[in-house]
Amino acid sequence: MTVDSNDTTPTPRPTGGSLADTDFAGDNRQAATLGDALRDYRNRVRGGDIGSLPAILGLVVLFIIFSFANDKFLSTLNLANLITQSGSICVLAMGLVFVLLLGEIDLSAGVAGGVAASITGLMMTDHGQPWYFGVIIGIAAGAVIGLVIGTLVSKLGIPSFVVTLAFFLALQGVILKLIGQGGAIGIDDNVIRGMTIKNVPVTLGWILAVLLVLVFAGISLNRHRVQVAKNLAHDPFVLVIIKIVVFAAIILGVTALLNANRSLNPVFPIEGIPWVLPVVAVLLIFWTFVLTRTSYGRHLYAVGGNAEAARRAGINVGLMKISAFVIASSMAAVSGIMAASYAGKVSPSSGGGNTLLYAVAAAVIGGTSLFGGRGRAVDAVIGGVVIATIANGLGLLNQAAYINFLVTGGVLLLAASVDAISRRRRSASGV
């Protein structure tokens, strides 16, 4: 530290008594071994910092149950279908993470996606615009909805629950007006529809997957090297390697699975990664960067953790709130367009019903806290896959619709309970 002490004459005085050495261990820069790192992790989990652990365990359990219940569940055709189905949930949940990080909620995100998809559809069908123009207008519509919601919440101080509930109702009216009672807008654009029904060519898929793994490995190793060189806190090298290996196994495994021919008809092979997967991956990488590597992301966590501290640090809390709602609604627009692509149409019920609760459940199951301040973009993706797995598995079992509602509601309640309990443990153990 350099203190300005140009003309000052400090009056040194011996400090009375030495520093209390009670809870002192020196500045420990790394968990020395893998064992230490594991112990640290176990302590964090015990203390209530569980992250997406329940989601991953839940996913394993669901896979075991459904694979026993129906032998089609583990077929590559179904798994590819599962990935496509989870796309729109993951994207919607990723947007919601921003709002949830501030401890707010956006109940209207699902129908905002429906409005955006309707506008995109109308642009392409009634106005003959190209797909990209439709998408831009759709996302812009989402952003405007988010701007209005965010302004009402932050400037007027209406609880976000009430504002977005009002928008949930009103926006369904907007969709009805846009589409017309009983109507639907068909989505047959090659690109938009193709996002969920077409696949990345096999070779390109492999190239992208290998590149992604190499970039991840390069960034991880380089970060570790810099941290060691500058004597900063860092993970043990073994852990870095394990993370890279697990990442590579997941990426290359999924690629291999999707690049295999999954067609039931030998004459028409179906192979390759559905386009929706790289779209979700790009969004995930982008938002992860924003949340963890930019000051905007840092400020978002700060506002969610302690709004007063953030305000005193000079962060414009109102603006952060508005921006979070704009991001949530814009991502909802992308999600709505993805859902329309999967369904091949936009109907008056698009984005209504349980769409939003699926996405909230996805974010929360993945480890985003409803109390604010905790959550990652990848949580939304992991949770989205869990939710899609439930919907997909129950669908295969031909269960009555009421079972689906009961199970999904139960899962949301369970996830929220896990969140509340782990929060209590965190405040008790101070992790």
Binding site: V3, S5, G17, T294, Y301, A313, G314
Partner: protein, 258 residues
């Protein structure tokens, strides 16, 4: 005596009809701990908020380094190098120590955060204050004890080459060992040449670290004296009655202070 780093002269402040501060003179010297004491409602927090730039003043001068300055907002004051550490700490539990220390003033490389610089500087600052009580600068603030949190809040204030640090009741919620840590740190700040203002109700703490004591009584300065010239008993009388022997506000009120 050296020139005060910061000086308020004849400051008055009213909220509506309530005249909270009457012709208050207050000075902070480099390398010294100035204790600001007074009963509840004596005007301590109002004075701190005027120094912090949160409140404006009705009349009176604000001098920094002997020169009059105009301050309109907390930012102006922060730019002068004055940092306030509030009682409720203002730390984010969900962020780690480095993230908290740089909150709102993150070091950046392009659009991305420069974690390397931030972590190194945080560690240097903590080391320069001889803070060794934290296990890792990357642990979350939620896992820290009250004393450690106070330490981080103070270190955060020091990180920005501040010249004056105001501490609002820094030991109010702490145990014996933790109070010890914080008081040691307060002393060390002054030894580094900073002007330190300690607002406290605890006379033991005040006498332990303070070089000067400024006592407020009903919005007036009852006394501004070197700590070694007064006793515990006298300061308590100044706080509760506004005068003690030949110290304090005279009956005629025209020879205020010493």
């Amino acid at each position: 005596m050296t020139q005060p780093l910061l000086e308020l002269r004849g400051v008055n402040k009213s909220f509506g009809v309530v005249h909270v501060l009457h012709d208050v003179d207050f000075a902070v010297y480099p390398g010294q701990v100035t204790a600001l004491v007074g009963d509840n409602g004596a005007g301590k927090s109002t004075l701190v908020k005027i120094i912090a730039g949160i409140y404006g003043r009705d009349s009176g001068d604000f001098l920094f380094d002997g020169k009059p300055v105009t301050v309109h907002s907390p930012k102006d004051v922060a730019d002068l190098g004055v940092e306030v550490v509030y009682q409720d700490l203002a730390l984010c539990d969900n962020l780690d120590i480095v993230q908290n220390m740089f909150l709102g003033r993150e070091a950046k490389k392009g659009v991305a955060l420069d974690e390397v610089t931030m972590e190194s500087r945080a560690r240097e600052t903590l080391a320069s204050l001889s803070v060794r009580t934290v296990k890792s600068v990357r642990q979350s603030v939620a896992s820290l004890s009250g004393g450690q949190r106070q330490t981080v809040a103070i270190a955060k204030a020091v990180l920005w080459n501040s010249r004056i640090v105001l501490l609002d009741e820094p030991t109010a919620a702490l145990g014996v060992a933790q109070t010890r840590q914080v008081l040691d740190l307060v002393r060390r700040l002054a030894d580094h040449g900073l002007g330190v203002v300690l607002i406290s109700h605890n006379m033991t703490d005040v006498f332990e670290v303070a070089d000067r004591i400024t006592a407020l009584y009903l919005g007036r300065v009852a006394a501004d004296v070197p700590a070694k010239d007064v006793t515990h008993q006298q300061v308590v009388e100044l706080i509760t009655a506004g005068r003690s022997g030949n110290l304090g506000i005279a009956e005629s009120a025209d020879t205020a202070a010493v």
